[in-house]
Each structure stands twice: as structure tokens, then as C-alpha cells.
């Protein structure tokens, strides 16, 4: 598009926005003096800002298009290049490890606490990534399994005194079980229908927790959930936080380890094939339903473990922690980070969870910012911040 047309278009957009925002940005009714103030300066500002925003937007769109034309082959994300290069991999991973190990000792407890939350989202994101990113099943009720894990720990501890370390593996099993139970009826649906039904299921679990007073203590929730112990030893508040931090780091590493293995195994390939083309996938001998169910159940496994960690960390849970917004936040982590890309999801979780914590001003508009980010990412980087890269196999030249 020639520059002249672009200016024209941006002018039109700016003008349109000026009219659109006129009632809220310009007109101000003074209820005390019964007068109407016209804030014409705002009028001008809206126009100017929209004009430049539109110009910049167009500029990036064009640059993006041109880039696509020039380098099709060379689109491997920088971080993958770093990790594939032997010279950089070690020092890079060393730096990352050093940072995360030093983190709780360098920064105050408040920051450690926030980092734990973010890391739980890394776990949740990696779990949901199996369902949405790899298998292509839009699951809007993921939070249900998170709740299952959290309530499993809270209730089993309350009634039977079971400790964190006992419940953690149990919750993994429970998550899988619930994944299968919920997945069985709904996975026959496709696309949008699946999204709506899973959304419904997620809400059902929350509403049950809210109303089944005898079981879950209703909206009052459950308190005094103990932090994890260290071979029977219970730490003081500060040390407990640091301990929790390293448990979560361990769990995240375990998640990365297993998810990576799954992704590049027979079952992981089947997930991706199913996402790409259901019919061809079945024609290649893959059981569609079983493959979907495994994805759904494995995703639930990690959500439930995340739930246990969440309960142990906050020491209080109630149904309000498991609303649809939680599902959507986790979904944003996956989509913005990069569908199907583990590194992308990790980056997505850290960015999306840490940013609002530190930019308190933004926190209120969290969903607005997520939405805007979503649009920007979808337009400029449809594969997410860090897109997925498939494994490269090497073959020695065979002698004939």
C-alpha cells in the first residue's frame, strides 16, 4: 500500500475513533453545576494517538509480510538456535539455572511467592499445551482439574491428615481419572462444541464445590492447609516459602522432562497428526477417540498436580479460585506463548503472570491487556511468541 493511501486510511480510522469516543472522552456532565464541559483537548488527543497507532500497526503488518516473503526457511526462533548450538547451550542453560537457584535468596519473599505462582502456571500451561497445542482440543474447562487437585489435597489433609507428599502422586492419578471420566462423554464433539461443553463442565465442578456444603465447605472454603514438610520437619514461614519454591522448580523440570518425551514419542506424534487432519490421521491407523482421551487425561494430570501445589502455597482455597477466568488465563498462556511449543508456553506463563504482578497499574485491566496481546500476537506472530520446532533426525550415509 503506498504511503498516501496509508495516511488516508489512518486519518479515517482516527476520525472514526474521535467520533466513537466522543461521548466518553469529550463530553463531561458536571452534575453539581448542571453544565456540560466539552474537553476538546481529549478530542484532539484521541485523534493523534489513533492516527499514529494505526500508522505503526500498518508498518509492522507490512514488514511482517515482507519478511515472510524473504525468509521462509530461516524462521527458527532464536532460542531454539541457541539451544541447538552446542557452544551456546551449556552456558545459556547454566545462566538460566543460576538465576532460578539464586532467585529466592536474592529477592525478598514477596517476589519468591509471585515466582511460585508463575511457575505453577508454567506447569498448568505445559499441561494444557498437550490438550490444546498438541492435540488441538479446545478445552475451556481446564480449571476443573486444577480444582480437583487443590480440593483433593485440602480435603484429604483435613479428614485423613494426609501430607503433601502423599497427596501429590495421588492427585496425579485423580486428575487422570477425572480427565477420562469427563473426556469420555465430551470428546466425541468437535471444535466449538467441545469448547462450549468443556466450559460447562468446568463451571459445573465449581458450582458443585460452591453448593455442596458438607463436602467442600461451600464458598467459605478450606483453610489451614499445611505447607509441604521436609521428612516430617515443618519449616518456618520464610523457609517454607523457599522450600516450596524449589519443590515447584522440581515439578516444573519434571513436567518439561516428561512432556518433552511424550511430544516426541508415538503418542505425541499422534496428537499432532490428529490436530492437523482428523481424517488422514484415522486413515493412518490411529484411534481417534483413544488418542484424544489420552491427551485430555494427561493434561488433567498436570492440572491436578498444579492444584495441590496451589493449595499448599496459599494454605486457603475456595471455589472463587477456580472460575472460568482461570481457564482463560491458562489458555492465553498457551496461545500467546506458542501452541505446541514448550519453550513458548514457559515464556508465555512468565510474561503473562509476572507482568501484571509487577505492573500493578495494569493488573486491573488484565483481561483487556490479555485480549489486546492476543490480537497482536495472532496478527504478527500467529504461531505465538516462540513457535514450536520439530525434532531433527540425523542419518549417516548408508553404504549400498
Amino acid at each position: 500500500m503506498p504511503i498516501k493511501n496509508q495516511i488516508k486510511q489512518s486519518l479515517i480510522i482516527a476520525f472514526w475513533f474521535m467520533i466513537l469516543t466522543f461521548p466518553i472522552m469529550v463530553i463531561k456532565v458536571n452534575t453539581i453545576r448542571h453544565t456540560i464541559d466539552f474537553r476538546w483537548a481529549n478530542f484532539l488527543w484521541v485523534g493523534i494517538v489513533t492516527f499514529f497507532a494505526s500508522m505503526i500497526w500498518n508498518y509492522f503488518l507490512r514488514r511482517n509480510e515482507e519478511q515472510k516473503k524473504t525468509d521462509i526457511a530461516d524462521d527458527i526462533p532464536l532460542i531454539h538456535k541457541l539451544l541447538q548450538n552446542d557452544r551456546f547451550r551449556r552456558p545459556f542453560l547454566g545462566l538460566v539455572a543460576a538465576f532460578f537457584i539464586a532467585y529466592p535468596f536474592v529477592f525478598p519473599m514477596y517476589h519468591t511467592s509471585i515466582m511460585i505462582s508463575a511457575l505453577v502456571y508454567v506447569m498448568l500451561g505445559l499441561g494444557l499445551n498437550i490438550v490444546v497445542g498438541l492435540a488441538g482440543l479446545l478445552d475451556l474447562g481446564y480449571v476443573a482439574f486444577y480444582a480437583v487437585g487443590a480440593y483433593a489435597y485440602a480435603l484429604l489433609n483435613l479428614h485423613f491428615g494426609l501430607s503433601f507428599w502423599v497427596v501429590l502422586p495421588m492427585s496425579a492419578f485423580l486428575g487422570t481419572l477425572f480427565g477420562v471420566l469427563l473426556g469420555y462423554p465430551v470428546l466425541r464433539l468437535r471444535g466449538d462444541y467441545l469448547a462450549i461443553v468443556t466450559l460447562g463442565f468446568g463451571e459445573i465442578i465449581r458450582i458443585v464445590l460452591e453448593n455442596w456444603d458438607d463436602f467442600s465447605n461451600g464458598p467459605r472454603g478450606i483453610g489451614d492447609i499445611p505447607a509441604p514438610s521436609f521428612f516430617g520437619h515443618q519449616f518456618g514461614q520464610h523457609d517454607a516459602m523457599i522450600y516450596m519454591y524449589f519443590i515447584v522448580i522440581g515439578l516444573v523440570l519434571m513436567t518439561i522432562f516428561f512432556v518433552h518425551r511424550l511430544e516426541h514419542s508415538k503418542i505425541g506424534r499422534a496428537w499432532i497428526a490428529l490436530r492437523d487432519d482428523e481424517i488422514a490421521c484415522q486413515a493412518m491407523g490411529i484411534d481417534k477417540f483413544k488418542t484424544k482421551l489420552t491427551a485430555f487425561a494427561l493434561g488433567a494430570t498436570w492440572a491436578a498436580m498444579g492444584g495441590v501445589v496451589f493449595a499448599a502455597k496459599t494454605s486457603f482455597i475456595n471455589p472463587m479460585s477456580f472460575t472460568i477466568w482461570e481457564s482463560i488465563t491458562i489458555l492465553c498462556v498457551v496461545v500467546i506463548g506458542g501452541m505446541g511449543s514448550a519453550i513458548g508456553v514457559i515464556a508465555g506463563a512468565l510474561v503473562l503472570i509476572l507482568l501484571p504482578e509487577y505492573l500493578r497499574a495494569v493488573a486491573e485491566y488484565r483481561m483487556l491487556v490479555f485480549g489486546a496481546l492476543q490480537v497482536i500476537v495472532m496478527v504478527f506472530k500467529p504461531d505465538g511468541l516462540i513457535k514450536s520446532v520439530r525434532k531433527v533426525y540425523t542419518f549417516k550415509a548408508r553404504e549400498e
Partner: protein, 263 residues
Amino acid sequence: MEPILNVTNLTMNFGGLKALDDVTIRLEKGQIAALIGPNGAGKTTFFNCITGIYEPTTGEVQITPPGKNTQSLKGLKPNYVTERGIARTFQNIRLFHGMTVLENVLIGRHCRLSSGIIKAMLQPPSQKKEEKKAVFDSYEILEKIGLAKYVNDMAVNLPYGAQRRLEIARALATDPFLLLLDEPAAGMNPQETKELDDLILWLRDNENVSILLIEHDMKLVMSLSDWIHVVDYGKKIAEGTPADIKANPDVIKAYLGEESDDA
């Protein structure tokens, strides 16, 4: 000897439309047979009925895999049909975009691998060995089909002709005794078509597969096929050797006539 594929009185209705009407087709072991007919005649529907993507309204589909008993495919889901040894390609290429060429072929191996989820996570030696062998076998198939140089490329980035060959490679990876090819030469240039001709013959002679192909390229059909079935408006109107078919007045009227005008 029993035919390896025995389709009797197959009928497929879509609402009021009879896409297939009482079609009977047999295929002998080692045969290259062609299924021809004008567009919309019901050829792809025939493939879909055999492979379990559609469930035929009436009729019977039986197979006799080499060295095994005769069995019915009726009501089986597509993945079970593939497990029983029938593989196919698609008229409109359906490769897996998010995967490399090698992984596309690996998907074909899927139903011949046994390791489950637990093994995938723990990776015991048996799983590693199986995975390694699967990768090796898939690479070998790519070498045979002539796609080894693309092994780590994303499937979507391949040239068109190579994508069609990759579909064949992927189908071959499922260890079929019968290969169904839906318009494998569509969109290929004469050079690529020639190579496809060689490939199909080579497959029959060296991989022990019988082949049923749908094709519009008459030169290819006539030179390759041992036997030709002709359908028109869902009905089978003729079958025979290429020479018979060329001489059959019904066929000329329904199909070859229009084609040979502009050829």
C-alpha cells in the same frame, strides 16, 4: 484363489443421491487395477466406503489378506481397516502440516508400534529400540520413494509432486497388502507422472502390494493397469483389460469420448 478384495453390491446413499449403486468389484493379488469414470461418478466415495470413512448403505466388503482368512470390513472404523492392511492416499493431499516429512511417515508406522504412554515417559530400552527402528524403517521408505533428501523438511514446504509421493510413502509405512491411490497423478507434470508410473510398478513388484488406483490420466491408466473398472453415475458400466475398455462403446460414450476430443 480368493480375491484379496471382494466388494459386492455396494450402495451408498447421501439423502436422495445414490453416489454408489450396486457396485461389485474384485481385486486379485498382485494386480494393478484402475477405477475410472467421469468426475462425480462416485470413485472417491467407493474408497471412503472401503476404508470405513463412510458406512455403506448396503453391500459387503471382504478382504483376504495374503496368508490369512477372509474377513468382513463392514462397520469397521478407518483405523482398524488400516490395521488390517489397507492403506490409502487422498485426492486432495492431506499431509500433516505441523510435522516433518519423516514424522509424516512415522505416523504411518503408528499402528505397528506397541509402546504406550508409560513407556514413552520412562523410555525403557525396549521403547528406545522400537523408536529407533521405526525411525530407521521410515527413513528407508523415504529412500525407496525418493524423498530422503527432504527428510527433516516440513511436509508443507515440499514441491507438489513430492507431496503426492509423500502420501504414498506414508501409506506404505502402514505395511499394507492393498494400496488405494486416489488420483495420484493429479497436478503432476509429464516427468513426474512418468516417475509415478515407475514407482507404482516398483511397489507392486518389490513391496508385495496390490494396487487399486483412481486416475484421470488415460495414458497412465492404460499402461499400468492389468484390469480396469469403469463407473458412471454411481453404477459400474464396464470392466476388463485396457484393450477391452478402449473398445467398449459404453465407456467411450460415458467417458473416453469427451476426454479424447480435447486430448
